[in-house]
Assembly symmetry: D2
Homo-oligomer: 306 residues x 4
């Protein structure tokens, strides 16, 4: 299998696509991103990275950060985390607030906004907002082996100003007693993690530990059974109400972000980062998803293959 | 790995469990089943079957039949099936009718009742109710290599008499134009498939094609890419609102039935049938689920392992 | 107050309206009705009837019949009726099946479809379907003092053939144990009552007892306190999810039907029937509602006036 | 009719009731109220007030204040208010956030919390929080003819500290663009109005304008047609998900508050204030509701009577 050729082919095929979805516009920093961009990077256990397109352009990873904060929170809290957040797909186009009310302030899973806010609240225990942000950034830097990775402060600030819906979620969970820290402190951490800025190449490196049972070279970031659990959550909940379709069409655990990025993991084989800013109807990168379908078809990669 | 020992150990551990869940009671035939039973059978590609406990006692496979009818319908309709039923987890404790209304009569996936009724409606096209039942039974017999497998007519009749909620679902979908055949004809097929009676051993054999890319010996039951799609649906939707938890704790695609059975598939490695009649809060076999957790822990089997 | 002039004026004003709403089309008999028609009839306690427009053209009263069957059922069951149906507005654009599920098969009130099906089920106790239909027709004839009032059999048959959504509701309530008679028997009664065919003049006469504390001349159809309760239900629940707006803009208890009719009652003063086939977004007659607003403004009639 | 005797009798009957409901406990100031209290005051157009029980003990009027702020906002905005809030009963035990999401941040009516927050936002236009509070208090003082009426600052402060659920509602509506002023400014106004402290006697006087077509002596507080509209909203929406039952059993427009008070209006005849701190399942005063039923039965008062 010539992965280098496959990667180039896919990037080329995506370049000529005309239906590229719609860029998120709820903050100016995301709305201003050029929709014609497409990047792809695949890291393999031998250390090689195959990249194509705009694989070295940084973008806002947004909800992909939920995978990293989840890893951290599971390390700190273990199974007790699930007293405060569920592990079931939300599976509902009428999304989160409805379910949050029906289930008394316990979000369905840690990969939707409400759940990730609870995870941020866990990371805020015994830490200032700044310390929690530093812990998250530090973890991503360590995973990627790249100390230059940083939060984009303009994006973080913009989110903090406009994130009324997330603020509503947080206040609602606070009313139900499921938020322990002050709402604004937690949101500061949450918005900061969403504003982490990485290139596809950096993101593929940051995902290595998920492809390698938790270990990068000699550094154990999390034990093997936790990695399996995180991958299970990514497969069932990683693409909002498009999670089933991604599992059906791609067959690889992934997590998307509203910035247009997707991190996908083939256990033991690859950590994949793809990025294209235009989104489809469920808020997942349109070309990113299509590229992942092509890649799965060309490589045969699937957790459902023998 | 001594699978024979593992299987015996698990059966023994389950025998001593005191919290066995509650047997389904909506029809007398299910309510009368002895809750103390537990069976486990694992088929492996070399043909060997490891079995323990009540692995040779027949039980009503109920919703597990949805996997077999789905296989048939995908073969006959291909991707056009998804115009009439979705591929997303239902993820909602307020279950199906609510979503059916919000989504105008299109069920969320083919492994919940409403979706399986649509699948039955597809199988009813160009067939009488009797012919459709014969097609389903024939497929399961062929998959298991066992012509003795049959529908329990008392169970089928009981369901037909009491299945008012499924009848409501069917009429609702009919009102929305998503059911093509008469409601009673479709329900006759649907209730018959649910009444298929198999032992764990038979069920593990019937699941072989899903572990072997669609092929049993020289018989191609469905192409490899369809198997991956079916396994994806089983992983994301196979345990109702406990699907996420099963993926998280077990990490293997499975489908449960209200009769207490679970069929689970490790691609390339094993077809597993487990049965214990008592159900947990989400309608999945309580000991069956626990046994699968133990099995996954002891064997290391997981689609999320390298 | 010159009611004769007011009635003529309103009919004239309505004739020139161009936005007339959309005629219901779910059965051919309703879809074929000429949308340009408008009728108005007002009965007053001195016996005089003021009528204008197409006040002598018969139309399908549909859900207005729910007021008459409710009167009958309350007479037979008293307060025990409320064990099986609620007395709260449904207040939900995602209408009835959702709430029916959330509230375990107990409809919100007797003036929505699900609730009226329960009322029909009550009338079916100890009666054949034919006897129940005769009881309903007989009651309306007696209330209107007109033995010529009858069910339109073509409409009843059409509803029976196409009413899959009501059938779904009935099966769902049957599954929850809230329907005592066979679904098809109850639906036969329900669809027959909906197919009652009256003119505005006949309907205004049929509503007299509600304006006169239950009594027409010397005939006591129901006691005074029941009339007040029925009027309260009409005011809070009589126009589906437009009930609040009707109370706000018109201020008079009313019940609408999908055939375009509205029966409205001013206690002690008037029984009003208005009809125009075109419906607004909530399924209430568009011009009928507008005419009622004009009438209330011109007469000062309102239950909220001193 | 000897109203003096009726009032005493009801107060006496209520005194001996043992099932008194549960006092609201979400803030300490409400939780500390003695549940054994009961007060009743009826004002009649001739100026006489009949009172009994604890009619001169001040209590927190809470949601009853929504009637007064609605009157003010309708005076300032007229029908344009309905672009931002609906006029339909919420009719949903799964209350407000669900509907708020389904209806994109537009509350169902101005008498539920979300709707009253929008009303407070309207009053905040061109006013500081302090000025808006002064406008509300001033209106109630003027309506009651009693300049001593004031906000209880301890209650207002407590609400501001604990009102996370209302804060969630406000942020959600802000996210949907339906809130114009800063969330905290609007909540300050809203919590202050809820903390208005009145006796039954004062409240009955404050409600006079609603019984008298908007006018108290020579002072026109609002035009007659607005009063009818406000009474319509009180009848259909004034008791949350118990509004239908109150209309059915009492038949008089009313508004309840979580402090245990109810203001009820018989057009042209009476302004009634009743208070007992214990609440029933829908959050309405248990004995207050029972007292209103007795009063309606004894006086024959009902908007549905001729």
């Amino acid at each position: 299998m010539d992965l280098s050729a496959i990667v180039s082919e896919i990037a080329e095929a995506m370049q000529s696509e005309t239906d590229r979805g719609a860029v998120a516009t709820y903050i100016p920093e995301l709305g201003a991103v050029d929709p014609d961009q497409f990047g792809l990077a695949i890291w393999q256990p031998d250390g090689e990275v195959f990249a194509a397109g705009d694989a070295d352009t940084p973008f806002s990873i947004q909800s992909i950060s939920k995978v990293f904060t989840l890893t951290l929170a599971m390390r700190e809290m273990g199974e007790s985390l699930w007293h405060r957040v569920g592990i079931e797909p939300s599976g509902n186009p009428f999304n989160s607030i409805v379910q949050l009310e029906a289930e008394h302030g316990k979000p369905r899973n840690p990969l939707i906004n409400a759940g990730a806010i609870i995870v941020a609240d866990c990371l805020a225990a015994g830490r200032s907002a700044g310390e929690a942000q530093a812990a998250v950034t530090g973890f991503v830097q360590r995973a990627a082996g790249d100390a230059s990775i940083a939060i984009n402060p303009a994006v973080a600030r913009s989110e903090l100003l406009t994130g009324q819906r997330n603020r509503a979620l947080a206040h609602f969970m606070s009313a139900e007693g499921n938020l322990r820290n002050p709402v604004e402190k937690v949101l500061e951490i949450y918005f900061a993690q969403c504003a982490l800025s990485l290139t596809c190449r950096q993101l593929a490196l940051a995902g290595r530990y998920l492809a390698m049972e938790g270990q990068v070279n000699d550094d154990v970031l999390t034990p093997p059974h936790r990695v399996r659990q995180i991958l299970a959550l990514m497969l069932t909940c990683g693409h909002y109400d498009g999670s089933g379709a991604f599992a059906y069409r791609v067959g690889i655990p992934g997590k998307s972000g509203v910035g247009g990025g997707i991190l996908a993991i083939v256990p033991g084989r690859a950590s994949i980062a793809v990025w294209s800013p235009g989104l489809g109807p469920n808020g997942n990168s349109l070309l990113g998803t299509r590229a992942m379908e092509l890649l799965a078809a060309r490589t045969g990669w699937s957790v459902f293959a023998p």
